[in-house]
């Protein structure tokens, strides 16, 4: 479905269901140069199990036109504006990679709008290597290769996919390859520059889940664990997966989210 957010249409996948104001809402936020479809194996489930699922395409990504943002704070402001546009008082926010920073910042900036928070594949700060940034600016195909290869377990192609008939690395690379020119560089720059207020993190009251891949090559496992330790009462779950847990371990990721939302 579409909303108008900060002057532009914004697309959100709903799992083929109509939005029901009477149901609790989960907003899923994708990572750099991706779109809503990274949540294929989680969002559809919740849309058919008692929730509104809104898997958004951030502006300039997927089906959402609009302007790429340069900072996590700006993305966060857009996300809160989306809640306004959808007339959602508060929602569970689920973010992956760059999306996890956007949702974290939203929970810090507007805690009353965030009922629960799930951070997947996160480190904060999230430094991005110079070679990756340079490639995203000067040679995007190489940067897409980097994102695909580092975004999964080492030698991902030499393992059986959790999604029969799909090469996770190939599908991920194809999705990045469809992104708008400049999107990856803008997104990586925003990740690299973001510094959350750790005082605010330590004062968080939002129930939070941190999901980390033991074989994550993009955001270090120990960094996710360290962040979870800073958030009061945060639940930490480790999965045997790389950075792209939603497709590398789709059932386990769904189970962790389901358990978290049930409690």
């Amino acid at each position: 479905m579409q909303f108008i957010v900060q002057g532009y249409p914004a697309y959100a996948y709903t799992g083929s269901r109509d939005f029901d104001p009477g149901l609790p809402t989960i907003v899923f936020v994708h990572g750099a140069a991706f779109d809503h479809s990274v949540w294929q194996w989680q969002s559809r489930y919740f849309a058919h199990h008692g929730f509104n699922a809104l898997a958004v395409d951030l502006p300039g990504h997927g089906r959402s036109p609009g302007i790429l943002r340069a900072s996590i704070a700006e993305w966060s402001s857009w996300l809160v504006a989306l809640l306004d546009a959808a007339a959602i008082g508060n929602a569970t926010l689920v973010g992956h990679s760059m999306g996890s920073l956007v949702t974290l910042e939203s929970a810090l900036a507007a805690p009353q709008r965030v009922s629960k928070l799930a951070l997947i594949g996160i480190s904060a700060p999230m430094p991005v290597g110079q070679a990756f940034l340079d490639a995203a600016r000067d040679d995007p195909p190489v940067a897409y290769d980097m994102e695909a290869v580092w975004g999964h377990v080492r030698n991902s192609q030499l393992t059986q996919s959790a999604v029969p008939g799909t090469t996770l690395l190939g599908a991920s690379r194809s999705l990045n390859g469809r992104s708008r020119p400049g999107a990856l560089h803008a997104d990586l720059g925003a990740c690299n520059a973001y510094r959350p207020s750790m005082d605010a993190v330590r004062a968080m009251k939002t129930p939070t889940l941190v999901l980390a891949g033991k074989r994550d090559q993009m955001t270090q496992f120990k960094a996710g664990k360290a962040l979870a330790a800073e958030i009061p009462g945060a639940r930490f779950v480790a999965l045997d997966a790389g950075h792209s847990m939603m497709s590398e371990a789709p059932r386990e990721t769904l189970a962790a989210l389901r358990d978290f939302l049930r409690d």
Binding site: Y13, S16, D35, H36, S37, Q40, W41, R44, Y45, H48, G62, R63, A131, D134, A135, D138, D139, V142, D145, M146, V149, W150, N155, Q157, L158, T159, Q160, S161, A162, V163, P164, G165, T166, T167, L169, G170, A171, S172, R173, S174, L175, G177, R178, P250, R251, L254
Partner: protein, 431 residues
């Protein structure tokens, strides 16, 4: 220049891609999951599997763990987003077509096609309202002129048989992009070892896996690979992918999966309803061959080069058709697209026409006279009376076939033995 990340070489992918040691037993070899169906752990999971809320196996017509290894291995070798294995190469072509169009659909195809594909497009699909216009593969203007408002697919073989026409994939792909229509390439002859159509600009790739992918000629199978980069929404011509599908509770496949919408529909409708799936035993047997594909292709190409040079030197031979030869119209394209060689298939014209051809084939002892290509064994056939016999004279000429054309598929035997067999048969052909 910025160096990209290291990824496994094709030789490694051919042996390992898409497979983890069996989680149940630790089996290093790919286990044959000879089962029709799979036990659901609970009712919630069962419902989630049926509603595509969670991935997994439900019924082996839709997916199977052994078949999935084959699909993922070919997809990795081709650089695609995923693949669907089918009961034959013909089933792969049919699956691609019916996923993209229905009654009123139109295809522009190279005239240089496998006879079976020509039959499907020329004689069978018109009965279902799908027409095809055939064009000379290297005539880009003809491709352009043949495109109609209802055209939904461009189709050609990377290297067509038997005249070994080489398709200029980047040029046709560029036209395809300009007209927002996908290009499907049948890469059976070249295999991902010699060239990857997706890297050259194609959007979809198919193989008859019976041929080089297997290499042993013991099974029939096919596979369809999606590059995941064609923008079905922007094209606006593919309601099967971009509009709600009542056969799956109003699912819009391009919303469900941006990169894999085509494969999703092909599996969830095409395999479900047409049912031309691959059997797990077949996938296992093809995988035994696929492991050695890069090694075999090198030997196929090496032997072919020797056979081509030998035939070109013989006085009994009127003309040899192979892109290794400078006179071949596809020579320059082949050098550009297939620097490691492009075809272990070749054809030639014997002096003496049909009668000489009969004597030649019957005098061969090492080459097997049969209807197949891409076997470890060297093969020979007379296309005008066998594989392409349903085509009229005009279509035969368009496909580069004359009554005297003989097609060879060069195998893995020692080259000297092949040349010896050919030499004796050439002598016999003129008596």
């Amino acid at each position: 220049m910025i160096l990209g990340p290291k990824t496994p070489h094709p030789d490694t992918l051919a042996v390992h891609a898409g497979q983890s040691p069996d989680p149940a037993t630790g089996s290093r070899a790919v286990p044959i999951y000879q089962t029709a169906s799979y036990v659901f752990p609970d009712t919630d999971t069962a419902a989630a599997l049926f509603n595509m809320e969670t991935p997994g196996h439900v019924y082996s017509r839709l997916s199977n763990p052994t078949v999935a290894v084959f699909e993922e291995r070919v997809a990795a070798l081709e650089g695609g987003a995923g693949a669907i294995a089918t009961s034959s190469g013909q089933a792969a072509l049919h699956l691609a077509i019916v996923t993209l169009m229905g009654n009123g659909g139109h295809i522009v195809a190279s005239s240089s096609l496998y006879g079976g594909s020509h039959n499907l497009l020329s004689y069978t699909l018109p009965r279902f309202g799908i027409r095809t216009t055939f064009v000379p593969p290297r005539d880009l203007g003809a491709w352009q002129e043949a495109i109609e408002p209802g055209t939904r697919l461009l189709f050609g073989e990377s290297v067509g048989n038997p005249s070994v026409d080489v398709l200029d994939i980047p040029a046709v792909a560029s036209l395809a992009n300009e007209r927002a229509i996908p290009l499907l390439v049948d890469a059976t002859v070249t295999t991902p070892v010699l060239g990857r159509p997706l890297d050259q600009g194609a959007h979809l790739v198919m193989h008859s896996a019976t041929k080089f992918l297997s290499g042993h000629g013991v099974v029939i199978g096919g596979v369809l690979v999606d590059g995941g980069r064609f923008d079905w929404n922007a094209s606006g011509k593919y309601p099967t992918l971009t509009e709600p599908y009542e056969g799956f509770h109003g699912m819009v496949f391009t919303e469900e999966s941006t990169a894999s919408a085509f494969l999703l529909r092909a599996r969830r409708e095409g395999l479900r309803d047409f049912g031309a799936c691959m059997a797990p035993m077949t996938a296992f047997q093809i995988l035994q061959g696929l492991e050695t594909l890069p090694v075999r292709m090198a030997r196929h190409i090496e032997n072919t080069a020797k056979v081509v040079a030998y035939l070109a030197s013989r006085k009994e031979v009127e003309r040899v058709h192979h892109p290794d030869l400078e006179a071949h119209p596809g020579h320059e394209i082949a050098r550009r697209l297939y620097p490691r060689g492009c075809s272990a298939i070749l054809s030639f014209e014997l002096k003496g026409g049909r009668d000489a051809g009969r004597k030649f084939i019957e005098a061969l002892s090492l080459f097997s006279h049969l209807a197949n290509i891409g076997d470890a064994k060297s093969l020979v056939i007379h296309p005008a009376t066998t594989t392409h016999f349903r085509m009229d004279d005009g279509a035969l000429a368009a496909a580069g076939i004359t009554p005297g054309t003989v097609r060879l598929s060069i195998g893995l035997e020692h080259a000297d033995d092949l040349l010896d067999d050919l030499g004796r048969a050439l002598n016999a052909s003129q008596k």
